[in-house]
């Protein structure tokens, strides 16, 4: 759905934040919040995957802040757009953007990975309905989104399905089964986004299992392919809009991103992919780098 249409739609739909012409600035604010909140949650949890959460902050902020027809009041609306975080390990970022848009409480979302908290180490739809499906096993979320897009098409629903994949995830064979299937069934209501930060758990994609030529692979599988700077909000928004106007074919945004974006000591380092324990100093340094004030840092770490 276009941004303009979204603004109109939101007039009577209890928007979770004020709408206006300065939507890019609001999305930038949401992305900043997402990074800080994710870092704080991972610090408090003493485990979690920061690298891939930081790299997808703008993508999530664009989807939840403008592109998708999805807000807290529409969680049970069958005609809502669906978002699936197929790279489920990046869920600290999903929980943060959800908290920003009032799908859940900001404070509770800091309970990441704790016993009794619905904010599990990977998203679970029975704990948090708004995460749409349970993910964490790479490849599956993509297939689930394909099923959603198929089902919505069969029921003549005009809603769209969005799915965010990691680049390492593309090494799963199931991803290419799903890619072939989506093109075969002409799922133009499906939009995949690849968080292409070029790194995975142990090392670079290039070292572990080469993905290139990535755009050519998607094209060969019958998709309309867009390449974007995954941290450029204006570019992401306009490309999502273009993707939504694609007919007869699914579309994919290959979003070039930086792993650990916004935290200098994490940027470009696969060491911060995995489930890591952040020291208090590392958390404080990261939050400082992300522009948090000393009061905010104290709140996020101890509050």
């Amino acid at each position: 759905m276009s941004i303009a249409a979204k603004l109109i739609d939101r007039n009577d739909a209890a928007p979770s934040f004020a709408t206006g012409p300065d939507i890019e600035a609001q999305i930038a604010d949401a992305a900043r919040f997402t990074r800080r909140h994710a870092i704080a949650a991972i610090y408090r949890a003493t485990s979690g995957h920061p690298g891939g959460a930081l790299s997808c902050a703008e993508i999530l902020a664009c989807l939840f802040g403008a592109e998708m027809n999805f807000w807290p009041a529409s969680v049970n609306d069958p005609y809502r757009d669906r978002f699936v975080l197929s790279k489920g390990h990046a869920c600290p970022a999903l929980y943060a953007i959800g908290a920003y848009h009032q799908f859940c409480s900001k404070q509770e979302a800091l309970g990441l990975r704790k016993l009794g908290s619905p904010f599990q180490g990977h998203p679970h739809v029975r704990d948090l309905p708004w995460v749409e499906t349970s993910t964490g096993s790479l490849g599956q979320g993509f297939s689930v989104a394909v099923g959603m897009a198929l089902g919505m098409k069969m029921q003549r629903m005009r809603a769209r399905a969005y799915v965010l994949l990691g680049d390492g995830e593309l090494q799963e064979g199931e991803v290419w089964e799903a890619a072939m299937c989506a093109a075969h069934h002409k799922l133009d209501n499906l939009c995949a986004i690849v968080d292409y930060n070029k790194m995975q758990s142990d090392a670079t994609n290039e070292a572990i299992m080469r993905l290139e030529p990535l755009a050519d692979k998607w094209r060969a599988f019958g998709w309309t392919v867009f390449e974007v700077d995954g941290h450029n909000i204006a570019e992401i928004l306009s490309t999502l809009h273009l993707a939504a106007s694609t007919r007869e074919r699914p579309s994919v945004l290959i979003a070039h991103t930086l792993k650990g974006k916004g935290v200098p000591f994490m940027e470009g380092s696969p060491a911060w992919h995995g489930s890591v324990k952040l020291t208090r100093q590392q958390a404080a340094d990261a939050l400082t780098a992300l522009g948090a004030s000393p009061e905010d840092i104290k709140d996020l770490i101890d509050g």
């Binding site: 959603m148 029921q155 199931e174």
Partner: protein, 325 residues
């Protein structure tokens, strides 16, 4: 459509459970408007070709890609459809983790119906004979597991799983199956039933082994042993009340299944009886081995799951009971 001039499919002429399933599904389509059937290019083998012919727009082709198909079923269910995943049992096993996460863990109202289970597959051989599917799917929390015994029960079970809200794994069968039940047969998820009365020993069976257990009861009767036969089409949740009653009234149990003796019907029965009212149990099934090529009846004989072996197991169980008394 490729049906023109197609060669005759082997084994589809009789009342196989897969054919019964496919016909039932087709007849039920009108009652379940959200029903869609998912196929991995084996519709001709799973009985789903009947559905495809009647409702082509509700048959979703996934190609030979079971992992995507099973997870996509979770997505279809998430947006309000009633997906029935179909395929061969051994190939659906490759999507086990998808069934675990995207259907079981997400608790989707999706059904997985597997044809070609067990030695009943026949000449395709060991690679194609799923002898561990019941054990595997039974271990997924919340997954209901069903293995009907004849075409009548398969048709009833097909309706029952569509009416049931929750994930289900159901076995059908490849080979022509003997009709055991009349038109008044009743199927209820979670319920077993006594199909032959007796009080010396209880033979508990599912799927194709129910017919063999009934034959075994005949053999035992010739020797003066009155065997009770229980048809146990729902392996999970198992009918523990009925098993407790059988343990009390006969004191000896034999389980019979076209499946590894580990993790399937026998294990489910032993878990229930062990907890409620322990008694001697003998297990007829594949003795932790893979299958091989051969006709289903030859294989059943070769791997010792036919009536004489069930009868022999019954005599052993009775001897063990006597030794305890």
């Amino acid at each position: 459509m490729a049906d023109n001039n197609a060669p005759a499919l082997i084994g589809t002429s009789g009342d196989s459970l897969r054919e019964a399933f496919g016909k039932a599904l087709t007849a039920l389509a009108a009652d379940f408007p959200k029903l869609v059937v998912l196929d991995a290019d084996v519709a001709g083998g799973t009985g789903v070709h009947h559905f495809r012919k009647a409702h082509p727009e509700r048959l979703i082709q996934f190609g030979i890609a079971e992992q995507n198909m099973v997870a996509a079923a979770g997505g279809l269910a998430a947006v309000g459809m009633l997906p029935v995943v179909t395929g061969f049992a051994c190939f659906l096993e490759r999507a086990y983790e998808q069934a675990r996460l995207s259907i079981g863990y997400a608790r989707r109202n999706a059904k997985i119906v597997a044809s070609h289970p067990g030695l009943d597959v026949g000449p395709d051989g060991g690679s194609a004979q799923a002898l561990e599917d019941i054990a595997a799917f039974r271990a997924i929390p919340g997954m209901t597991v069903i293995s009907p015994a004849d075409p009548v029960e398969t048709a009833l079970a097909t309706r029952a799983i569509l009416e049931f809200d929750g994930p289900v794994y159901m076995r059908t069968g490849r080979s022509p199956a003997r009709r055991l039940f009349g038109d008044d047969h009743v199927f209820e998820i979670g319920k077993g039933q006594i199909v032959r009365h007796g009080c010396d020993v209880t033979l508990v069976a599912c799927g194709v082994e129910v017919a063999r257990a009934l034959d075994a009861a005949e053999l035992l009767a010739e020797g003066g042993i009155e065997a009770r036969v229980v048809n146990m089409p729902t392996i999970k949740p198992i009918d523990a009340d009925l098993l407790e009653r059988c343990a009390r009234e006969t004191g000896a149990i034999v389980t019979a299944e076209d499946h590894n003796i580990y993790g399937g019907l026998g294990s489910a029965v032993a878990e229930a009886v062990g907890k409620r009212l322990p008694c001697p149990i003998e297990f007829v099934g594949l003795n932790d081995t893979f299958g091989t090529s051969g006709e289903p009846d030859e294989l059943a004989e070769h791997f010792q799951i036919t009536a004489p072996y069930i009868a022999a197991a019954a005599r052993r169980a009775i001897e063990r009971r006597k030794a305890l008394q």
